[in-house]
Symmetry: D2
Subunit: 345 residues, 4 copies
């Protein structure tokens, strides 16, 4: 059973392959009577959609969400919110050449061996296209947590070796969406964009780091011992395609301190529970596997073959991953807010 | 609802506070007819127990597990395995001085505010004592996955700035338990031990990194899209006390490569699914908060007070955390093995 | 959180209100490589759909299912199967007169008080329209369990006081769909139809009993102690609209026997586990609440008002409930088959 | 995976075989700061325990519960409540004669075939002894729901053909525990007792019906579409050993009415949601399978053998099942109360 649900009470279940008819999902547990701004949800989808700028893939998808249930006269009904996003770009193309090749760095082979079958027309269920459904669910979660005072702001803090060194507290986070790479420092952003353009021209790809700042977190949320806030955030982030690491606070740097020193440095989480301070976490993304450069790979008969992708790939997924990181974090916080309602008599 | 269960089918639920009568758990879903070596389970507990060497806390707990159900004539029955470990060390002591103080770096305050009540005699449910129950469940999981050919070996790869630089493939992992710090390189181990002894003498603490090598993993396990193998491992690891970060493969270092380069480097997981290669992950532990040095903290009335711990603390938790990391990883793999049984008709 | 999922591994989640844009669902956990006969799924929907005969409501819905994912080249992919059924009949009507009235015997009032909001245009989420999504999920479950040799046959065994007295073993179950009331005895069926037509003419309604015969059940399925086969079947059946009782084997009649007598009578379930014999259960349906006759009820201000339904209601839901009973039973058995795969090493 | 948990948020997990070391459980999700009366919990266990009167089995178990965690200074901590009940009666007996015989009407054979192994010393996990753990969890649930104003009262309403015909509303329910059969009508109780004594003398057994009256139910609890209050109650009741049927309100009798008639009769549940009225449900129990009379059965080699039980069995389980029915109902209502806390913003 592949796991397609996330959350205990505020729960998103998604469906859909990249080259099937549509993707979509069901969001359960969103409390009734929440005013929903549908336009804002679409805006989050637009931040994720392909073709939004010169440094993303030119694949064309309008990514328009259609809500089918759970919303009435602008408010949530307390019933499951069903929604669908049609797949538009891939009809009528010939995919036979992909039937017998496993793309390097992709999940084609493992997926086929796990299930004994795969939709060879593309990444299928393993494609990051699925995350569009997460952005819809997360955008609703955001509206729910925002009215509890909680705010999430993610940004690109490094692209390969170009790093935004400033601490989040010294940054003007309102600048995140003022450039196409989604880095709040406009100068560093230009360097990142230049690098990505260069990489794109070379038919290669690069990875980087996304930082997420969470503020206004209600004291006490988080569910130890197994669903500590940091543990569930780590689960959420590592479930996003192409991620390789998650750190909270100063992460691995914290191992370089003495306890007497570290105890004086504020953290946002104590024992898995929010303590009222801001929570800052970072997620590492590998360079995407699809590149235009010729690469060696294997076909389904185990023979070595040379593969060249046709070019409509993201040279760097980070700008488009920012809303996905926020969406997954929002789903975590929304669930934790609901669970906390049942903690005390 | 605090979350005290881990796993979908192979599921461990734990209970117990550090200063209550006992801790323990229920392990569900372990398939019937598994031969269990009870001594091996106790050995894992012994690797975690306090007082095992000069560099761990001297708190005394025999940590003997008593099995109450689910095992018959040396084999699992397919029924839940109930077990108990009595708490021995803390009876008849006067804890009143702790009633009104929040220990720095601990979860005392958040726990009290989350639930409006706490067992002030110690860390209560937030104490790492709870992880003894995980080690029992994990030790059974280990025996289950080992007969499927899967092997887990965790070791201490750094203590503060003393780092084992060699790659896991070049190490003799049979040396892990040949020293008290559980580092497979005997020379580096001696440096780590010396550092911990120095830190202990100063009444301070240090953190570090544990690396875990997983081999013999059946092709195809892992449950995308939300329960990717890496995502659930991250969840498992970050649910352990004092952890701050999780990386798979080369983690954040992967962001420094081009895609064309990275595609040629083997990884153990593709799209969240095991691909037959070894999986290597790392977990960062902060220096433990309890130290003997005098520290400023707050009491329950919000006033600043000076606190000195009585001395029976771990200067470095990493040696004792090695079996905990293995236990949680074993629980993840056991669950994934079971889930995979239902994937194909 | 209203619960919209059913099943542990083979899991159906549904969405949709009766007067929203569409209803639908996501079916997770169906093993990969199952050949699916899509026409057969539509046939089950046709057995449930309104307007299929003179004794059902004349509300018009084509109830055509559109699959969006999880199926490729006629086989399941192992990924979630998303599907949608558009709502067609209720657009452009004026529902304002329903805004302030609670229909007698319906859930209008409790639903509004539970959530503080409701879709007043009809039953909303409490409408039996939602069960169309169950029939889709159940029709896939049926194809899965049938290839394991399991067969389900439900039929109407009583309508008010007209009762089919023969035991299931003496009946020709191939006759179930040979009449519009779905009773395998053609003579009794005619009596039932005559009664329903009379009741319809009077603007009233009647209830009755559906019997379900399950054969070819693999020995050993069922998950005690809480998910005994009978317990989960009871849950499944009582989750269907208008149901009031569930019995297995001889139900309440068994209380009239001595143990020495009862021990000699074969049953299909022992201790919650299938023992290889046929399982027979019965479900009681109340007469539907919506009738054309004038009835007293309350409006949202608590005042008594007289209400007359417009006439497009089912005088007896049982003929249309037969495929729903089968669908829910199929979901139970499919889940139990998967769970059993993980019982023994 | 045998299912050993019940509930979504207020969740009981049990463990234990009848002839193992102990039985017990973990109760999760009970809100913090609930005052617990431990004596009251023990009293509920005493109502269930063997040997309590001349009409129950004379097997000796003190059934004393020991709490291990989750309670501090008389209040719940919000952490899991671990508890254990030692098994006392079965040590040092020779069970070899049972190794190769399947007792008639019991789950010995199915259990052995499901798991390929069983604890042949008794019913093992299929024994009703497991329900003692449910009574502990249910007794805590009772204290939780009682302070929300909810009250549960179950009683024996029939033993074989001796039936208490009066409606619950006309009965003095304070009389339930004034006789050993737990029937509120003292005269009918005496007839039931006389019948059970006669049956006991003959080495046979009888079944009957338990009715449960639930009052003070908060408007709005219940979680459609799949976890309707009636559906989850049915699941709970049919998970109790020896049950064969469940009805709500008038059950199968409701099928004898016209809709116009039935709409005027108040019910306690509308569309799966509590509507403020009392809820009344009934559960059918078969005569217990263990009897002293000689019976034909099979051994593990499939040969027919004659079996005579040694006599320490219940001639009628209903008096002891009354607290079990209440316990399971209390668990359902406690869970529903918590879930309802998250319904509206």
């Amino acid at each position: 059973m592949a796991a397609n649900s996330f959350g205990t009470l505020f729960k998103l279940t998604t469906f859909g392959e990249s080259h099937g008819a549509a993707i979509g999902g069901i969001l359960e547990g969103c409390p009734a009577r929440l005013h929903l701004d549908i336009e804002k949800i679409q805006l989050e989808l637009d931040r994720r959609k392909p073709g939004q700028s010169g440094i993303t893939t030119q694949r064309k998808e309008s990514d328009t969400v259609r809500f089918l249930s759970g919303i009435f006269e602008g408010k949530t009904l307390g019933t499951p919110i069903g929604f669908v996003i049609e797949n538009e770009d891939q009809r009528s193309v010939d995919y036979d050449h992909l039937k017998e090749v496993y793309r390097p760095g992709h999940a084609d082979e493992v997926w086929e061996k796990k299930f004994g079958i795969r939709d060879y027309r593309g990444g299928g269920r393993s494609s990051a296209r699925e995350t569009a459904a997460r952005v819809v669910g997360g955008a609703i979660a955001k509206q729910f947590i925002e009215q509890a005072g909680l705010k999430l702001q993610a940004y690109v803090s490094s692209v390969k070796d170009i790093e935004l060194k400033s601490d989040h507290a010294s940054l003007d986070l309102s600048g995140i969406d003022k450039n196409i790479v989604r880095c709040p420092d406009q100068e560093v952003a230009q360097q990142m964009i230049a690098l990505i353009e260069k990489v794109k021209a070379e038919g290669d790809s690069v990875g980087g780091v996304i930082t997420c700042v969470c503020s206004g977190i209600p004291f006490g949320i988080g569910e130890p011992v197994f669903d500590k806030l940091n543990a569930v955030l780590a689960h959420a982030m590592l479930s996003i395609n192409a991620t390789k690491g998650f750190v909270i606070d100063d992460g691995f740097d914290v191992t370089q301190r003495f306890g007497s020193e570290n105890n004086t440095i504020p953290s946002g989480i104590s024992g898995g529970i929010a303590n009222g301070n801001d929570i800052v976490f970072k997620v590492a993304f590998k360079p995407v596997s699809t590149i235009s450069k010729a690469q060696k790979t294997q076909n389904t008969r185990g023979e070595e073959v040379i593969m060249e992708a046709t070019g409509r790939h993201d040279p760097c997924v980070l700008p488009r991953a920012v809303p996905i990181v926020e969406a997954m974090a929002a789903l975590v916080f929304a669930d934790m807010l609901l669970l906390q309602k049942t903690s005390v008599i």
